[in-house]
């Protein structure tokens, strides 16, 4: 991509260019402004939030009381720890299993490789229904077990197919040369394939991590014990479900309920926003080549 425009792309004329600039600005504002007001409200002092009717666009004085309140321990702190743990363990397990299966499926002459592939791809057609999946999870004894948030979602077929496509795009000569030198399959995977696949692993890892971090519904049906809830489920209960957070966590007199709610939203969003820029540069490289082939 060159920095200067090719001549034929031309200049569309000032009116069109102005319209484009306005359209882009509107799009960017539509995405960022809601996030901004949530952040601003979470940082504003209680009087300001209340006098303004529940939200603030530009806080006059910053106050971190809302964050201090919810991070003091109690339900939100615990939920963040749960979500963090599930995300770390789940992402690691998912990546290991996805890489292992994708590698086998990417190798040309595995005995029984074709039926194996069909067995996996066939699941594209019927995503497990909510009730039958519940039955399986229940019969596996995973109710009230954090594994219920991980094992039923261990491998995503789309991620698997992308990963396999990427492995297949690695030049065969590299793998065959290593095999000739006497390297076993595991050594080939570790020394040849994985180092070349950092981009796709980073992107698929992000997909898994985000999915685990955002998962909330399963905790409602699989956990009887609300103290096991991850952040998404708690957020639903106290922010979009309308229950009062201040009632749940005792007195929060120093802060307005709106600030506390918005601080919870920010804390649930933060890990994603922090990780996102680091992985963003891989998107074009890793996902696209894989996804288009799939």
């Amino acid at each position: 991509m060159s920095s200067s425009a090719p001549a034929w792309m031309g200049r569309p004329g000032p009116a069109v260019r102005a319209a484009k600039a306005i359209a882009l600005t509107v799009v960017v504002i539509l995405v960022l402004f809601p996030l901004w007001t949530v952040l601003a409200t979470s940082l504003a002092g209680p009087q300001e939030v209340i006098s303004n009717g529940g939200w603030v666009v530009w806080p006059r004085l910053l106050s971190f009381d809302a964050y201090a309140d919810i991070l003091e321990g109690g339900i939100i702190t615990r939920a963040l720890v749960v979500s963090g743990g599930v995300t770390l363990v789940g992402t690691a397990l998912s990546l290991v299993c996805t890489i292992a299966l994708a590698y086998t499926l990417s190798r040309p002459d595995v005995y029984g490789g074709k039926p194996m592939l069909l067995l996996v791809l066939f699941t594209f057609l019927f995503p497990p229904g909510m009730v039958p999946l519940f039955l399986v999870v229940h019969s596996a004894g995973l109710v009230d077990n954090y594994a219920a948030l991980i094992l039923p979602f261990l491998i995503n077929v789309f991620n698997l197919v992308v990963m396999r496509g990427f492995f297949q795009s690695i030049p065969k000569e590299l793998i065959e040369a290593a095999r000739m030198d006497g390297a076993g399959e595991l050594t080939v995977l570790r020394k040849v394939v994985l180092p070349l696949s950092k981009a796709v692993i980073a992107v698929i890892g992000l997909f898994y991590a985000v999915a685990y971090w955002n998962r909330f519904f399963e905790a409602i049906i699989y956990f009887n014990d609300q103290t096991m809830w991850p952040i998404g489920t708690v957020l639903r209960q106290y922010v979009t479900g309308g229950a009062s957070l201040s009632e749940a966590s005792g007195e929060l007199a120093a802060t307005s309920p709106q600030s506390v709610q918005m601080a919870v939203v920010i804390l649930a969003t933060l890990p994603i926003v922090v990780v996102y820029p680091f992985l963003q540069r891989y998107f074009a490289k890793g996902v696209l080549t894989g996804a288009l082939k799939a």
Partner: protein, 328 residues
Amino acid sequence: MIMTRARATPDAGTGGSVGTPDAPRPPNRVRERFRASRVLWLLALPGLAYFLFFHYGALFGNVLAFMNYVPFLGISGSEWVGLAHFERMLTDPEFWNAVTNTLVIALLQLVFFFPAPLALALLLHSIVGDTVRKFVQSVVYLPHFLSWVIVLALFQQMLGGAGVVNGWLSDLGASPLAIIGNPDVYGPLVVAQLIWKECGWATIIFLAALSQVDEQQYEAAAIDGASWGRRLWHVTLPAIRPVIVLLLVLRLGEFLSIGFEQFFLQRQSVGPETGEVLETFVYFTGFAGGDFGYAAAVGLFKGVIGIVLIYTANKVAHRLGEQGVYKS
């Protein structure tokens, strides 16, 4: 090779039924070939066990649709009812209400969500400066990674009764708008939410297609004096038409898959008459109502229609000369 064998097995979990595709008939050949790919099989094992247990196991779990399942009695103790649940569906007004709502929302999504990423992709593609384009792309991809809970909290904050927009309106002396929780605008609202969350991310595939367009055609068109708009109409759109058609066909194949969490979270706020879709119907009948058999029947009904739609869509896509989803 033998040393590494043990390392691949630990998290195989519950499965293991696939282990050995034993081979009595031509013993030497098959056993040899299997031995050659033994390590690869071990690598695949945890993943295969996952698919067998959770996907094929859940497929088996659909027997619930033909039973009056009582969790306390289990599958063996519950009573078989044949097709009774499916007969009940035919005359259940609440079920048909959920079908209607699902179809209406699916149609709104198709008409208003489907073209949005294409328009945004054309806009993004036409940005000449690399820095600006990368910045805008980073911004519009972001909402895809936020959960529906967060997205709905943001919409509540912006458009809710005490939200930012209504605050501005009251500052201007205008009367407030009832948007969140108003059944009359529920359809447009959920599509707007979907556009906010997914439109940017969905541009990726269109942008990839746009970057493949033959630059010489633009040049030729420009030399012939074609205006910016005419180049778009006569060069760009025809060039990416296969991608548009393919995505449209695939979308039709998933017509009923309008999503679950978004509707689960908002059903209460507008009430079941407007807010009930097929999947929330399954949840509220089964998990909240305890009628697991009937809920499983509705889920199975939707699943079977889904298979038919996806299968047809793939056939059509192949006929159009494109690769389908499950062609490897």
